[in-house]
Symmetry: C2
Subunit: 333 residues, 2 copies
């Protein structure tokens, strides 16, 4: 029997924080005590969990007394400031921000791919990967194990939930304004996202790629343990509420057949194929919304690169792309 | 001075037909007579044009007496049945459907790329290319001329206008139903398009690609005159009303620098660059809506393939992707 743990959630009132609570509940995670933390602005709110109303407390450096596992879902700055305090108090931190992902002493984990890395959390911190990276690797890892992944060319279709509750609210506001003649407010995104797509996610870097696009490169290398992996990525925000989709050309050492690739998903946890062109079967973001598993479809031979497949993967960004993956890491511990 | 022509529009009440009228008007195309044709269902409607109300007539095999140029915008079956009658009556047909595009005796033209092909219209029919292909080639042709295009890997973000007025109406209906608690109707698309993306445009072919994806391959080869061009394409419908976007990795014989690539658009008609990451400048579909020119941005070195650039192009699907391109072909004649 598992020992019940004292769990803290930092950013409990955000989109990912709320989903972490839902995942802990649905998966019957053994909890001895639950501490919900947020900024002063949200402190005092109550959040129901398993029949009790839990009061959200203000996050301070002293919030982590007796906490076994601290799930951080409040942005990079908060993680940088408070995760060391949590670790110092003896908690294991599972951080959803990008702050520690590329730190050599911090494991970066997708539980279906590299759970063994959890042992190497030298700082008491484990990082949860970027959502687009997790979802892409859920499709690519089963193929990588069999055929050896060498390169990825990807274009993403990312939901507004990736920007948290504010992203969701901004899309909703804009749709209502367009329907009722009101004024469109663009604060989260650089321009209108309703009935538009925006080829910028996170800030631009000196090589003309965005930080989000380079996460696919750097985080994939670290999670798969393939330092020479090549990745070209174009990250695009689309007016979808919470599942991401990614169109991928994946290049392998050895040639995979389309039939083998489809079959490979039958035996994998957390990912399944939905792929039968003869029956018009393919996955869309709505298929994975509020679901744990990622879905892969549109698998076919790439027509440009040898030993490459084109494919399409969708996954719930809030769930597998963030909250679920973090809770699964907590389960490994 | 140009001689005024008797123009007929087949499918005058559809989304593309209406836009053809707008383009003829805005470009002061010299018209001696205008015949608007549609199915029996739409015949009898009046459409205003340059101060006159023109009555839409029912399309028959005898509709083309005295017509100089017949613009077809009513789907492949209508073109297959009536375009030969128009050509037989002495009209030059400019066909927006896919029916004749791959016919060896029918030129397939983007006026900025291969206007000279118009001379070879042996059947009296000229084909207007697929919208995603036109918009992609507007970005790629200036680079092709300088660096020699070898291959394209593309993922599209296609507006619902590509399915005509019904596609636009379906997205609108679904958004209203979701806002007001009504029932979602999916007739044009295989599943909900509002707040979703659908990785299927046109029907599946035996190689697991869709017909739309193979158009990018076959039509690009014909328009550019590069029979060995390789193309992998994933066509995706997104909830945008009328501009398409395409994320492209373009592979060249010779290595283009990012600076050269940006500069190349300064001197080209019909396409411009909007690309300055330091100023957060990139084009979105709303930037080209109701505009003639396509816009290219996100130009950067591809990290997977040598001599390749990653880029992003947007263009108004109804205008440059269909109606404008057809009217520009008429202008060549």
């Amino acid at each position: 029997m598992k020992e019940a743990k004292h769990i803290a959630i930092v950013g409990a009132t955000g989109a990912v924080g709320e989903e972490m609570l839902a995942c802990l509940d649905q998966r019957n995670f053994p909890i001895s005590e639950l501490t919900l933390l947020a900024s002063a602005r949200s402190a005092g709110k109550t959040i129901p969990f398993q029949g009790k109303d839990i009061i959200v407390k203000e996050l301070t450096h002293d919030s982590f007394e007796g906490v076994d596992i601290a799930l951080f879902a409040a942005g990079g700055d908060t993680s940088l400031e408070y995760a060391p305090s949590a670790a110092k108090a003896g908690a294991i931190v599972i951080d959803n921000s990008s702050a520690y992902r590329m730190d050599d002493e911090v494991p970066l984990i997708v539980p279906e791919i590299n759970p063994e890395a959890a042992k190497e959390a030298k700082k008491g911190i484990i990082a949860n990967p970027n959502c687009t990276t997790i979802i892409s690797l859920m499709a690519l890892f089963p193929l990588h194990k069999k055929y050896g992944l060498k390169a990825i060319i990807a274009s993403s279709y990312q939901a507004v939930s990736g920007s948290g509750a504010q992203g969701i609210a901004e899309l909703k506001q804009q749709c209502e304004a367009l329907a009722n003649g009101g004024e469109i407010v663009s604060e989260v995104y650089p321009t209108q996202i309703a009935f538009n797509v925006i080829p910028q996610v996170d800030v631009f870097q000196p090589d003309n790629y965005t930080k989000e696009e380079l996460k696919m490169l750097n985080e994939s290398r670290k999670i798969l343990g393939v330092p020479e992996l090549k990745v070209t990525c174009t990250c695009v925000r689309v007016p979808v509420y919470r599942s991401h989709a990614v169109s991928i050309t994946a290049v392998f050492e050895n040639k995979p057949s389309v039939e083998d690739a489809r079959a490979v998903y039958a035996n994998y946890p957390g990912v399944d194929s939905k792929d039968d062109p003869s029956q018009n079967l393919f996955p869309t973001p709505l298929d994975t919304t509020l679901k744990d598993d990622c879905l892969v479809g549109r698998i076919r031979e790439d027509k440009v690169i040898d030993n490459a497949l084109a494919l399409w993967v969708v996954g719930d960004q809030v769930r597998k792309g963030a909250a679920l993956n973090a809770v699964q890491i907590a389960e490994i511990l």
